[in-house]
């Protein structure tokens, strides 16, 4: 009875194929590697969108499959961004500092270099000391490890406390919102050690690769994001396709029943919550170097709510639904709020999409909930079934 992942879930193969095709076409059209038809700024938007699709898969896993409506996964996304951002900013500042000090008669001592880096990075929040949390910032390997460890441990401890106390449903959602809000408010403080509301910036410049143009760097990040999305999709599909997937769906549908069957529900929730937090963190670590800047506003509670809206619009409980939702809504969002959408003059009033996009999104959400409760992915299913029936 053993069948491969692709036999059980043919949509996985379709998805990976489409993603590969899309990635190749865009790379060929990019400025960095190919014909230069797709601009570098658009490559960045596409790369960021792929990262958002990846966190949407994490959200679908934790909410659509396991029934935990977490409204805090953007906190893990943001933390992943901060962790890689620390290395990017530290190393680049170090390069600049060494270059500027090299003009002196005596070679600069390590203390002088460290002090200059501290002044450069933390002058803006009135400090010169490098905070302890930056202890590993000099090592790419350590910071990459922290991308996974910090959000992973936060999710593990938070989840352990929350699930152990049998906090479920809307109460758990509120708790996750409280967690994001607390984290965001903490990061807003100047003495949090992460530059307060200034956040980390200049992240698009990769240390050691200053000679390489942004068009090439962005194309590499686009490829890396596509690879991460593909791998994330495979991992998620593998997790949900077997018996583990059946158990977490059972937890979603009737938690008490599966508990009386002998399954330790809390342990399953903790595994899924932590795994998805790590996926979210990896997505964030790829997103922010493309965005160039990260600040505490990114972790605001509303971001995590948007994430749930994407997954609901795309159709939860099916992985490609999450991807469709995240891609559609975030691309539309950047089109409307980027000032590219033409305003509509009505004479007495002008509809300016930067403001009205929110209304449109809200309406879209209401319409999807009313008329396509299974989301855009659900409409997909209906088409496929019609095909099979005829």
């Amino acid at each position: 009875m053993e069948r491969s992942l692709f036999a059980r879930q043919p949509s996985v193969l379709v998805f990976i194929g489409l993603l590969a095709l899309f990635t190749i076409v865009i790379t060929i059209l990019s400025e960095g590697f190919g014909l230069g038809i797709v601009s570098t700024s658009f490559i960045k938007i596409l790369g960021k969108t792929l990262c958002l699709c990846l966190i949407a898969i994490a959200m679908d896993l934790v909410w659509g499959y396991c029934g935990i409506l977490s409204l805090g996964h953007f906190a893990f996304f943001g933390l992943g961004g901060y962790m890689i951002g620390m290395w990017l900013m530290y190393e680049r500042t170090k390069d600049i500092v060494i270059a500027s000090l090299s003009g002196g008669e005596l070679p600069a001592t390590p203390e002088e270099i460290t002090e200059a880096i501290g002044t450069q990075i933390f002058g803006v929040v009135g400090g010169a000391e490098i905070p302890v949390v930056w202890y590993f910032a000099d090592s790419l390997f350590a910071q990459l490890l922290l991308v996974v460890l910090v959000p992973g441990l936060l999710a593990l401890v938070f989840g352990w406390l929350a699930f152990r106390s049998r906090v479920t449903g809307v109460y758990l959602s509120i708790l996750t919102q409280a967690m994001t809000l607390a984290l965001s408010l903490y990061l807003f403080q100047n003495d949090s050690g992460l530059r307060g509301n200034n956040g980390l910036s200049g992240l698009q410049n990769i240390p050691g690769l200053t000679e390489v143009s942004q068009s090439v760097v962005s194309a590499w990040f686009f490829l890396a994001s596509a690879l991460a999305l593909g791998l994330g999709y495979l991992v998620a599909a593998w997790v949900v396709s077997g018996k583990f997937g059946n158990v977490i769906r059972a937890i979603r549908d009737d938690e008490a029943r599966i508990r009386f069957m002998g399954y330790p529900v809390e342990a399953y929730k903790l595994v899924v919550f932590t795994l998805t937090a790590v996926i979210a963190a990896i997505a964030g670590a790829l997103y922010y170097p493309q965005a160039g800047i990260i600040n505490p506003a990114e972790i605001a509670p509303i971001a995590s709510i948007y994430l749930a809206v994407w997954v609901a619009i795309g159709g939860r409980g099916r992985l490609y639904g999450a991807v469709i939702g995240a891609a559609t809504v975030s691309l539309l969002s950047s089109w409307f709020t980027g000032g590219q959408a033409p305003s509509i003059p009505l004479g007495f009033y002008t509809i300016d999409w930067v403001d009205w996009w929110q209304v449109l999104l809200g309406l879209g959400f209401v319409l999807v909930t009313l008329f396509a409760p299974k989301g855009i992915g659900g409409l997909f299913d209906r088409l496929v079934r019609k095909d099979a029936a005829s």
Partner: protein, 246 residues
């Protein structure tokens, strides 16, 4: 022979209402027992206590050999120790196939990482087929459980319980909403199950209890009112008072 389940003078009250009052109960390893009693007699609360959903204010609950103190275990640990429970309302996982429902219930390792690596074996497939045969759902293995009839869902749930290979089976009103034919099938299932394990059936329906033909425990206001054969307890004047009103 010592009893499989020993419940000794348990009491529990909710907001001052004594749902269970100094109740003691014993059942042997291969025994079928019916628990009857009017509404509010504490039948469901009794099951909640044995399965770990409710903690009693006082008393002891001992189970198995060597004896386990069930009051110290969580619901899932109690289930893994060998106590299976069927709820009043049939609760199967409607979005999943009959096969998936049964496979999840098989008595394999239930910890997350073991389940993540789980691969269906020939042996497990065989067990699922045998179970399906026993509960009369062989033809429905690949159907979604939500499409089954009410009676079929009840059987599937009994199948889920048998798959767990419990030492003790607690069954809450299995015959509710069943047709006559379905009731007979259910009676057979339960009596066969009791040949190798202890089965406790909570039931309102006297006719169904008569069909089970087993020892009966009558509960009233949270304690045991009478115990014995059905004819014995129905001849008891206290039982007549409780059931027919004073």
């Amino acid at each position: 022979m010592s009893a499989l389940l020993e419940v000794t003078s348990i009491s529990v009250s909710f907001d001052g209402f004594k749902a269970i009052n100094n109740l003691s109960f014993e059942i042997g390893g291969q025994e079928l027992r019916a628990i009857i009693g009017p509404n509010g007699a504490g039948k469901t609360t009794f099951m909640d206590i044995v399965t770990g959903k409710t903690r009693p204010d006082e008393g002891r609950v001992r189970f198995g050999e060597p004896q386990l103190d069930l009051l110290r275990l969580s619901e899932s640990q109690i289930a893994r120790a060998g106590v299976g429970r069927k709820f009043q309302r049939p609760t199967v996982f409607e979005a999943q196939s009959v096969r998936d429902n049964l496979t999840m219930a098989l008595s394999n390792d239930r910890l997350p990482f073991a389940v993540l690596r789980y691969k269906p074996s020939k042996e497990d497939d065989g067990r699922v087929s045998a179970l399906a045969e026993e509960i009369g759902l062989s033809g429905e293995l690949d159907r979604t459980a939500g499409e089954l009839s009410h009676g079929q869902k009840q059987w599937l749930e009994i199948g889920i319980l048998l798959a767990q290979e419990p030492k003790l089976l607690l069954v809450d009103e299995p015959a509710a909403g069943m047709t006559l034919g379905e009731r007979e099938h259910t009676t057979d299932l339960l009596r066969r199950a009791a040949e190798t394990r202890a089965v406790v059936v909570v039931e309102h329906d006297m006719e169904f209890v008569r069909r089970l033909d087993c020892k009966v425990t009558v509960l009233h206001e949270g304690s045991v009112l009478a115990e014995g054969t059905l004819d014995h307890v129905t001849a008891n004047s206290d039982v007549i008072d409780v059931y027919l009103g004073r």
